[in-house]
Amino acid sequence: MTQVNRLDGGLIDRDTPLDFTFDGRRYGGFAGDTLASALLANGVRLVGRSFKYHRPRGIISAGSEEPNALVELREGARREPNSRATMTELHDGLVARSQNRFPSLGFDLMAVNDRFSAFLGAGFYYKTFMWPKAFWERVYEPLIRQAAGLGALSGDPDPDVYDRGFRHCDLLVIGAGPAGLMAALTAGRAGAEVILVDEDFRAGGRLTMERETVAGINGADWAAEAAAELVSMPNVRVMPRSTAIGVFDHGIYSVLERVADHLPVPREGTPRQILWRVYAKRAILAAGATERLIAFDNNDRPGIMQASAVRGYVNRWAAAPAERIAIFTNNDDGHRTAADLAAAGVEIAAIIDSRPDAPASDVAELFAGAVVSNSSGRRGVGHVTLRLADGGRKHVSCGALAVSGGWNPNVHLTCHHRGRPQWQENIAAFVPGDGVPPGLAVAGAARGIFSTAGALADGRDQALAQLAELGIKVTSATVPEADDTPVKITPLWHVGGTGRAWLDQQNDVTVKDVGLAHQENFRAVEHLKRYTTLGMAGDQGRTSNVLGLAVMAELTGKTIADTGTTIYRPPYTPTPIAAFAGRSVGRNFRPTRLPPSHHWAAEQGAVFVEAGSWMRAQWFPREGEVHWRESVDREVLATRRSVGVCDVSTLGKIDIQGNDAGAFLDLVYSNRFSTLPVGRTRYGLMLREDGMVMDDGTTARLGETHYLMTTTTANAVGVYRHLEFVRQCLRPDMDVQLISATDSWAQFAVAGPNARRVLQAVVDSQHDISNEAFPFMACRAISVCGGVPARLFRISFSGELAYEIAVPARYGDAMIRALMAAGEPHDITPYGTEALGVMRIEKGHVTGNELNGTITAHNLGMAKMVSTKKDSIGAVLAGREALVAEDGLCLVGLQAIDGDHVTAGAHMFAESTPVDAAHDEGYVTSAAWSPHIGASIGLGFIVRGANRHGETVRLMNPLEGRSARARICSPHFIDPEGERLRG
């Protein structure tokens, strides 16, 4: 395939030809091309369709501001919609497709919208589609949704890996144009730790696209030499293909490095992209500037481009956008484009300079004081119409129009802390204003210094200032000689006409739309933006905002400065969601914690369940058991009949020591612990300061000044944080120290009538654990298995004679195996969280299901545990009137009758009331099949529940169309007198 528009020269590697396809057609390019430059070289002008009117769209820029040339890249699960052709490095075999067209780019049926544009102006959809009412969701909206959107996702999981990384530096330099390179050189030569990031794959910024001399050599060569020097410095890191997308608090910059986007697929073992969090003591924004277009009727035709992009394609990529190009400018920069085109041998159709005092041109016919008022051509510009200074008209034929409307500094990052740019009249552009993020300086074109010499000097000066702030001394810093042409511009924003003149080409916002917004009083800049969608496209208005503001300013009679701007937000350029997520996705979304017996449990074929961050054994199916209930019922019955064992290491364990440990616990628990004898354990109820129950658990007194608290699994972290708050923030005077011991100890519940016999087989014989020597609620440090240190607690969650035995976590696996071996004569049964849950419901113990954050001690029937004789957290606010009301919720047991089932989440109603919100009396919190009782049972809260034992209630579950009847009873279904646990 011939590259019809390919010129000589350029910074492409003609020894490395590349093949690619666009919409299925094969084309050729070279290494160093972007998809955009290669398409232009191949004479392809039509690359996309606009959002609303499906107008033909071509490439208008050579950078990340591109609003039009958005394509789908790659295939299968790697399909990337909305990729800017201007930022896509060509690689061999690259596959690109146009988007938002049907059936084809050249013939798009949706282009019919363009015919009806009179009815589809700004915000038309707010005024219609309302009748008949049902049609919005059934007819109009589905049609709109299908038509909207640009590209399409593949629908498949992204197969690539993304990383996040952290880097630190003295000075971050953003942008490797003349200002950025000079800043990095100055700082690097001074020995500072420097990171230089640039979104391009080649350093130099505009220098790569200009025909300029720096230090006596070609500007692009000077940039390459500067970059090479920087790369050679050990204290400097140069990051190409890396975009600073956001400035966050305290000098944290987010930088997206596109590691592998220039390759067909990422290299084995490497990520596609890395999102760096750069901690920079200081930073310099040298992001350059973006050339504006000028609005005129039908200014959106393919081939109408930024003049700077036209000469960039010619100079850097040796690709002429067309054989014959016209130039439309309001400033001197347009003439530079003319000179470069002439030098490259491209035919210049005309120079149309809107300034009557335009400088003479020796390279082409000049129309001073003239404007381009219209364009024509199918799928691309063929002619432009000129309105001449004398009012006459003239048609000029051309395949491209290079438009130069002045330059907008790329101030975006300076606005990320809600800073507002300020208008600078002499360059007719916004420059950084108030509210620039602390530590960030701006250099070069990004602050309106447009000449190369000025940018180089400013890069040095800003670096020197930042180095001085950092205390780094600089001996000498010279700046190479370069072009120093001043800016001469006479603003021209739009050319009046009767047709449509585009401002935002991606979202199809025209001058008329701004007029309508003005007419309808959407005049505040934010109203303008939101009503017309001006600047809401993927470029955040980089090519459109200032034009739109200028048009609104004209209409309101205000200055542009008074009209103000909308806020630029991160990210600077669109950034894949996957890059923000990095590797913390899928199964690695959150850490997975495994209890000490996990591997043993896996060997037993346990079924596991997520319990917060833990994986816990849910039940241990035996051969022949097909339903989980069979396994769970067996585990419950075996435990109650003989003995069972369960890993309870996940419960929070907090070691509390110090002379004031007892007093500390008296403060954090509702009930008293300072009086607990050494060697004993007590149930503790912990309230939040607002009087709601925070957590419960047992706390053991291991020594005079040493306690060990247990918390629920779910609240282990929160309770620890709370205790540290009380210790450090409320009572730093207390002599008490805390440490989390959750991960230090493996702990197993051994429960059932034979529990003591099993334990006696593993506990070393010098420790007497008989009922007399080691009664219910006893605790003691012991040893097991011949000298392994251990702790034994006689506590019971199941209601059986039960112990919890703890050994250092590294012995956990050995301990479970030893317990299983010791229990073999008693047919010891491992049980999982389901059986644990059944037994605790049978015993009436509450867990997270009940302790939902809105429950008081009163609701639990534990009001008496809240001591009023001492100060404890939550006691005061627990006494508020509504929290102690007589008709409050009470914890009750529920036993289904008539073979019905108790369902957690059902609401409770008295026997003969209407089933509605007004008669709702409570809800079921937990439910289980009790193999012990032979019925479905549960726990729940119901008003006045303590006085309603024996009453039948209806458990209503309209959500699933079910209801059941149950009898209210004591929550203690099993052994209410507690004889088993004392046996």
Binding site: E137, Q146, N521, G691
Partner: protein, 420 residues
């Protein structure tokens, strides 16, 4: 409906054929009058809705809305557009259901297409305990006359096959669905109420900052503004994130902290996500706008802030959740992130009540749920202002509920605003 100046398809045709010269301002920019019966402080969604309902439902003719900047510039202009009434507690559910019913008739009421789109809100659950809690909530919704469905994994998979059911850290077990939930074009809500209120004689005064309240003998008789004193029989404040600052001028300390909530939008994409999905095992929720952008968010940044911008940890956390839940969105590009100031209350529920100062009324504490409440909040605040009694669906939103122990704490997180 088709009266002069009304919006309709016919009108669009007529205007389109005559150069679109007949469209009038959606609202006027009047000079403030010296006195009104009602002054609403805050030209956000709630303030504009309050004025609209005062005029349209309570027949009040002398109403002004004072906005320090441009109307609709607060949270109504920077939210993730979700509407739903899937609340658990009796203090909340009737109110939010009332709001949803108002949404359902909003466009015809306002003659403004705010694109109410009831595409369903799906709250995913990942454990038995979470399912049980959702069952309790779903039942509460139905008992209050709302709609709810509990889907298991197979049913959910049939509707949303793209979710990561099996390879996420926390498997998806199912979802609580409210089909009547969905999204609304947020800016249009502010504009629709503004236009509706303006057409009924309400003065909407932009660039008018309230700097203080004039209080005589315990009664508020008007507001001081940067455009002079404006007298009022009653003053209602609906200033969301600025609640503490504004009410401080009346000598009040509130059970409210201001926090930043971030939100995110992607480039326009062809339809991929049918409804609103919230992840039950991480901080992530998402919907797709009519324009094609994925609109998503997560948790607040956790620290007090008036800065209207957040930081990276939450951005990353949200995207981690999103990628885990629906890994197909990885190559979609985020185009913008932004932050709003949330008036986080001490129990996560709002306040619509009179204050200790006669003639001064307060509407706030919406946390990050204020958008969906907009119609009912406006209606109930208007009711309170007009009648001095709480609307029947908003009786629980009292200022003294904390002192009396009648918190409306959906999450059970207690008196820590950043946990709600």
């Amino acid at each position: 409906m088709k009266k002069l100046g009304g919006y309709s398809g016919f009108r669009i045709l007529r205007e389109g054929l005559t150069g679109n010269r007949g469209w009038r301002p959606a609202w006027r920019d009047p000079e403030p009058q010296p006195a009104y019966d009602f002054v609403i402080v805050g030209g956000g969604g709630h303030g504009l809705a309050t004025a609209y309902y005062l005029a349209s439902r309570y027949g009040e003719a002398s109403v002004a809305v004072l906005e320090k900047g441009w109307i609709g510039g607060g949270n109504v202009g920077r939210n993730t557009t979700i509407i739903r009434s899937n609340y658990l507690l009796p203090g909340n559910e009737p109110f939010y259901e009332f709001s949803l019913k108002l949404w359902e008739g909003l466009e015809q009421d306002l003659n403004y297409n705010a694109m109410v789109s009831q595409r369903g809100v799906y709250n995913l659950y990942h454990s038995d305990g979470q399912r049980d809690a959702y069952r309790r909530r779903g039942n509460a919704m139905i008992l209050h006359g709302a709609d709810a469905e509990l889907l298991d994994a197979a049913q959910l998979r049939a509707e949303m096959p793209f979710l990561n059911f099996d390879n996420g850290r926390f498997p998806i077990q199912g979802a609580l669905v409210q089909r009547r939930g969905g999204t609304v074009r947020h800016d249009a809500v502010a504009w629709g109420y503004a236009r509706g209120a303006d057409r009924r004689g309400v003065d909407i005064i932009q660039n008018c900052e309230v700097t203080g309240f004039r209080i005589q003998n315990g009664r508020c008789i008007g507001v001081e503004t940067n455009r002079g004193f404006i007298a009022a029989r009653k003053v209602g404040c609906a200033v969301a994130g600025s609640s503490s600052r504004v009410m401080q001028a009346a000598g009040m300390r509130l059970p409210i902290e201001s926090h930043v909530l971030q939100a995110f939008v992607s480039e326009g994409l062809k339809p991929v996500i049918p409804g609103v999905v919230t992840y039950g095992a991480g901080h992530f929720y998402i919907s797709q706008s009519d324009k094609g952008g994925l609109v998503f968010g997560g948790d607040i940044d956790m620290y007090n802030s008036y800065a209207q911008r957040g930081n990276l940890p939450v951005v990353e956390d949200v995207c981690e959740g999103g990628m885990t839940l629906m890994p197909m969105i990885g190559r979609a590009r985020m185009v913008r992130m932004w932050g709003g100031i949330m008036d986080m209350s001490m129990d996560g529920s709002p306040i619509i009540d009179h204050t200790p100062v006669d003639g001064l009324y307060f509407n706030g504490g919406w946390c990050y749920g204020g958008f969906k409440a907009t119609p009912a909040s406006g209606y109930c605040f208007a009711h309170l202002l007009a009648t001095d009694t709480p609307h029947e669906t908003a009786t629980a939103f009292r200022l003294d509920r904390f002192r009396r122990g009648m918190m409306i704490d959906e999450k059970g997180s207690g008196a820590q605003p950043n946990l709600h």
